[in-house]
Amino acid sequence: MKKERNHISHITRLLALLPAGMLCLSAALLTSCEKEIEYNGPDEKPLLVVNIVAEAGGTVAVDVSHSVFFLDVSDNSINKKLSDAKVTLSVNGEAASLTYDKETLTYNDSRTLREGDEVAVKVTHASYGEATAQMTVPHGATLHAHSKSVPFESYRQDSVDSQNQYYGLYACRVDSVWKVNFVIDNAQKKTQFYRLTISPMYTFRLTEGPGMSLINYDYGDAQENEDGTLSIDALSYYSIPATTSYALGMDDMDFDFDLDFLDIDLGLGGDDPDASYTAGPKTFLFSSDNLDGESGNTLSFDILMQTPGWQGGNYYYYHPDEHYITNGWYYYAYNPDEDHELVDYGNPWDIIGRTINYRIDVTLETLTSEYYYYLKSVDKYDGASWSPFSEPVQITCNINGGIGIMGATSTHTLSVQRESTFP
């Protein structure tokens, strides 16, 4: 069914482009008249831009620049940093002595920020006026985890509907499902705003098979282990059960990287929260208000433990006895002495043992509310920027007299591990 859905999805997406194509064609036919016009609207004058994103346990850097009127933007990388601004910063009422860093082009305070600190900034510039902002560094929530593995057969079929999964061009078979729950402890009795980054990592060590020695591995992210073997980090797929999807808020999901021009809504089941398979590090923005639903403070992720065999890199083994080289994830063995004649091919796991290590790294950042809304607005802006049909997005700012953002985070990190060995 999943496969069928994918086929339908591709075709229907292509078909759904036709209206857009027809519209463009019609517009092209009708759009016979185009002319350059003068701008006669508001907000022509550039504004003072102040950006500060500080972290509890870190220091404060004040980034000061000015905006550029849209008709004056000469390219995409506007860089209008101001080094001649007058910047005053206070933490809990104590003024800071700021230094201007010519490498980072920021005004820096050397003191370490703590949770609950109150920070205020005032920036004055002769050409762009005065801007002020203040914030309180949030008290961070903590996180703990528990996990268990279940065989696929006993797993919820409505969440992962088939043991055979398809991810774009790749296919794999789900061996088991590792259910990982994170519990957020929020000591603050008020709404908190979070950014959660989950990074399920899939590390395997290539070992030498009988009568073989590893001679090279050229995958970009390969790491050499202490025992001389190599490891790569690969992306692991996971699905998010409905309760967590609900808690995270569907529209808060940071699936920007999954968006493409063909992703057109045809009501083909893409809105099923349980179908939101994803891979690799993902970031979610949500508030503690979202957690008051069915899920409590627990967020669940179901990591799909794939049967090995499809993941691999460009590695080379030498068979000293047989005098040939093996390479590739679907290996091809060539005889180096006889003009690289192909002598064998097959699944490398048939001849090479490996150990797989699954790890999930989680970072929970507690954010100031303005920074949270700012991040959400930037996220929407990025998502909308590719489409001329998208509604405009207003970037949330909290700088009085200017634009930009002053925000802070308190971070808590956690790692959970599971190890499996496959012969």
């Binding site: 209206p19 907000d43 849209f70 933007v73 045809l266």
Partner: protein, 805 residues
């Protein structure tokens, strides 16, 4: 206390009326030649000063004191008639009227008793179809909705669009009724034309506020369009050849004096011309490999109305409309020895509307109208590929279909009751079964392999369906309203409507009071006031700029609540010697649960539930509308001016727009001027012109670009900043359209009309959209950003020829 005063006044008025013996005069007002019923004809007793207007079926009922009666009947474009007689009992009196054209007199436009100075109804305008036909039109195609756009308080959307925005409301807030049945998609050709063919239409009435209680279901306006019944006595018609389409209308008796039919049809033919050209090229030039290609676009309409008169008391009407837009592409590869392929693409959308109606005069005071209605809007996009491999004896067929639509079945009963000379009561109810089909996709694959030396015989047939399930909903309304005459000065139309909507186990009920009244301060001057509370249970998910066939009607849900509005209006109406009508109206409308797309959302992308794409908020609009209309004479027409403001506030948690602050609606326009004039030089030659001016639409422009804070790698992005949503106004819109017509009388019955129209006569480059354009200068290695404006329609001259027979 005030409430009791009104009750006492009403009681006294009823008692005073019943103290004197009264009888009722009733019947139909019709065209003397064709027997076509005349809607909203005025019937006035000059002796008592009591009067009424005919209803939507041409029926009137007037209770008058016993004694001498002098009944004057008036109707647009017809010679008035006066009937004097002594009323001694209930009387059934047919009032046939003679059209002015036959009498060679001047034309009369407007001046309806219920809408003008004397009526209690306000914020309503009646437009005879002849007036609509006289308005100059784009591509020579006259259009009902575009004529409405020339009225105060009614705006168009983007240039050329037939969508209407009434008093700050969105296009889906308009209830468009064709013979009493809602039409969901009123657009042809992506909104350039409406589906209402003027040839099939008898009358159009627009209500912008103070809605009578028998209307419900939309917030901003009701456009009540009535189709022609058909001539009961002789066959006649017209045909026209236009720039875009050709059309014909024919009407006449099936049984003389008993049964008539009216048929109107039109079709665009650009696709026929294109395909003829393609076929010619294919045949003549062997080097062009067109592969039997056919490609095109057309729209068509068919209106049919049957009218049967059983007796003076019973009539049956059957109305039918169907119209489609179709984009198609077909390609069949030229026959090859071993392999052939045929590809078909079809994108079709349209409405089908049907109504069967029985009118029965129960007695001289009570009129009954019972109907069964059906309306649907459906959209279908399909592609199919057929392949035949003769060598392998393999045939394959792949087909994909996307469908959506809305389907309504309605049963309705309305009663008109005139119990005393001072009360015109109307009551009734309806029930509608809605079926929403948001999106359904199906893919079919069939393959047939015949047995060959290499292959075994095999057959495969597979169909997969996916998409949202159909949604059923139930809607009902009960209403009662009374048009009361409270003395010689005050007339009040007070009503109550109760609406009910049930979907997915969730029910909504809305009591909706309506009141509208006038104080007649002089024979030709009155003040009016009105209030209406409205609810709307269906929404149109649509792009604001263009009307697309993929626009989707969806019902309210548990999360998306019914839209509500309160509207109050005040007005002054003045008539100058029955020649010119002046009106001044002010309104304030407060709406709740309005929908807008959320920030960053695109109407055509994303795999998100539609509820996630929209935000709910509030809106308010207010304005002043001024209209001066000259009804009589060689020169007639109107001047309309509107000053208005429309604002939105979306500040609900999770649905915030513009940082929770108020902002201008996209079609907030401060000033709008519409001038329409017709001048009849002679019987053979007339001319009409319109000039429109409107403040530009609002849009959002990122006026400043700035750097974001660096990410974990120190990279900084550039983002755009707009101080508020809809911060920029496009240039003002103005345009002059001119139309010249020559009429030629060939015989007594055949007349030809040659028409030249010029749309946008002084070729003003009106804004359709603006965008920024980045141009690279290779010599200086720099980019230069400019602001560009796109204009859709420059000057467009068109010619057409029509025959009336």
């Amino acid at each position: 206390m005030r409430k009791w005063t009104i009750v006492v006044m009403i009681t006294l008025s009823v008692l005073s009326a019943s103290a004197q013996k009264t009888f009722t005069v009733s019947g139909y007002v019709t065209d003397a030649v064709s027997d076509e019923t005349l809607i909203s004809a005025t019937v006035l007793d000059l002796k008592s000063g009591l009067g009424t207007v005919t209803n939507a079926y041409g029926f009137y009922s007037l209770s008058l004191p016993e004694g001498d009666v002098e009944l004057m009947t008036r109707y647009v474009g017809y010679a008035g008639r006066t009937d004097a007689f002594r009323l001694t009992g209930d009387t059934l009196l047919a009032l046939p009227m003679k059209a002015l054209a036959e009498l060679d007199e001047v034309e009369i436009i407007g001046n309806r008793l219920d809408l003008g100075v004397e009526g209690s109804q306000m914020s309503a305008i009646d437009i005879p179809v002849e007036q609509i036909k006289a308005v100059p039109a784009m591509f020579g195609e006259t259009d009902v909705l575009k004529a409405l756009q020339l009225l105060p308080g009614v705006q168009n959307g983007t240039e050329g669009s037939a969508g209407i925005y009434v008093r700050g409301g969105a296009p889906d807030e308009n209830l468009l009724l064709l013979d009493g049945v809602p039409v969901y998609n009123v657009n042809h050709m992506f909104g350039l034309f409406s589906v209402f063919n003027p040839d099939a239409i008898k009358n159009v009435t627009l209500y912008k506020g103070s809605f009578p209680a028998h209307y419900c279901g939309r917030l901003s306006s009701v456009v009540d369009i009535r189709m022609k019944d058909g001539d009961m006595y002789k066959w006649h018609g017209n045909a026209a050849l236009g720039f875009v389409s050709s059309k014909f209308n024919i009407e006449g008796p099936i049984i003389k004096g008993k049964t008539s039919v009216n048929i109107s049809a039109r079709r665009t033919y650009s696709d026929l011309l294109l395909n003829t050209a393609l076929w010619g090229a294919d045949v003549l030039d062997k080097e062009i490999e067109l592969n039997g290609m056919m490609v095109g676009y057309y729209f068509d309409d068919l209106n049919v109305k049957l009218n049967h008169k059983f007796s003076d008391r019973d009539r049956l009407y059957v109305s039918w409309y169907s119209g489609d837009d179709d984009i198609y592409f077909r390609m069949k590869e030229k026959e090859q020895r071993y392999y052939t392929q045929q590809t078909k693409f079809n994108w079709k959308w349209g409405n089908m509307v049907g109504a069967a109606r029985w009118n029965h005069v129960i007695n001289s005071q009570l009129f009954m109208d019972i109907s069964a209605n059906y309306t649907q809007y459906r959209h279908h996009m399909g592609i199919s590929i057929d392949e035949q491999d003769k060598e392998r004896k393999l045939m394959q067929h792949m087909e994909l279909n996307l469908k959506s639509g809305i389907f309504d079945e309605t049963a309705r009963a309305d009663f008109h009751w005139n119990p005393t000379p001072l009360h015109e009561v109307r009551f009734g109810s309806f029930y509608t079964h809605h079926l929403f089909r948001p999106d359904v996709a199906s893919i079919t694959f069939r393959a047939k392999q015949e047995k060959t030396a290499d292959e075994e015989a095999a057959e495969e047939n597979q169909t997969v369906r996916t998409g949202q399930a159909e949604i059923e909903a139930h809607e009902a309304q009960v209403y009662i309203e009374d048009n009361m005459t409270l003395g010689s000065v005050v007339k009040v139309n007070a009503g109550f409507s109760g609406s009910f909507f049930n979907v997915g186990g969730r029910s909504y009920f809305s009591p909706e009071p309506r009141v509208s009244g006038r104080a007649l301060l002089a024979d030709n001057f009155s003040l009016k006031a009105g209030y209406a509370y409205m609810s709307q249970y269906v929404h149109l998910l649509s792009n604001n700029s263009l009307s697309l066939p993929t626009d989707l009607w969806v019902p309210v849900t548990e999360r998306i609540l019914p839209e509500k509005s309160h509207q109050v209006a005040l007005g002054a109406f003045y008539n100058i010697d029955n020649v010119c009508d002046l009106s001044l109206e002010g309104y304030y409308k407060l709406s709740n649960n309005l929908l807008e797309y959320r920030e960053g959302v695109s109407f055509m992308t994303g795999s998100t539930d539609w509820q996630e794409k929209v935000a709910m908020g509030r809106g308010w609009s207010y304005g002043v509308e001024l209209m001066a209309q000259r009804s009589i004479g060689r020169l007639n027409g109107w001047v309309a001016y509107t000053w208005s403001r429309t604002r939105r506030l979306f500040d609900r948690e999770g649905m915030v727009l513009n940082n929770g602050k108020p902002f201008n609606a996209k079609y907030d326009r401060r000033h709008e001027v519409d001038i329409t004039g017709n001048y009849k030089f002679s019987e053979k030659f007339d001319m009409s012109a319109t000039w429109v001016y409107a403040t530009g639409n609002c849009g959002t422009v990122y006026t400043q670009y700035f750097l974001t804070p660096g990410n974990e790698f120190g990279w900084q992005n550039t983002v755009g900043y707009a101080s508020e949503r809809n911060n920029f106004r496009l240039n003002p819109y103005h345009r002059l359209d001119v139309s010249l017509s020559w009429h030629q009388q060939f015989t007594d019955r055949v007349q030809g009309t040659f028409n030249i129209s010029v749309y946008n006569a002084y070729n003003n480059m009106n804004p359709f959209l603006i965008y920024t354009d980045d141009e690279y200068n290779s010599s200086t290695d720099t980019w230069h950003t400019t602001l560009k404006q796109v204009t859709l329609f420059p000057i467009i001259p068109t010619i057409s020829y029509g025959l009336k027979f």
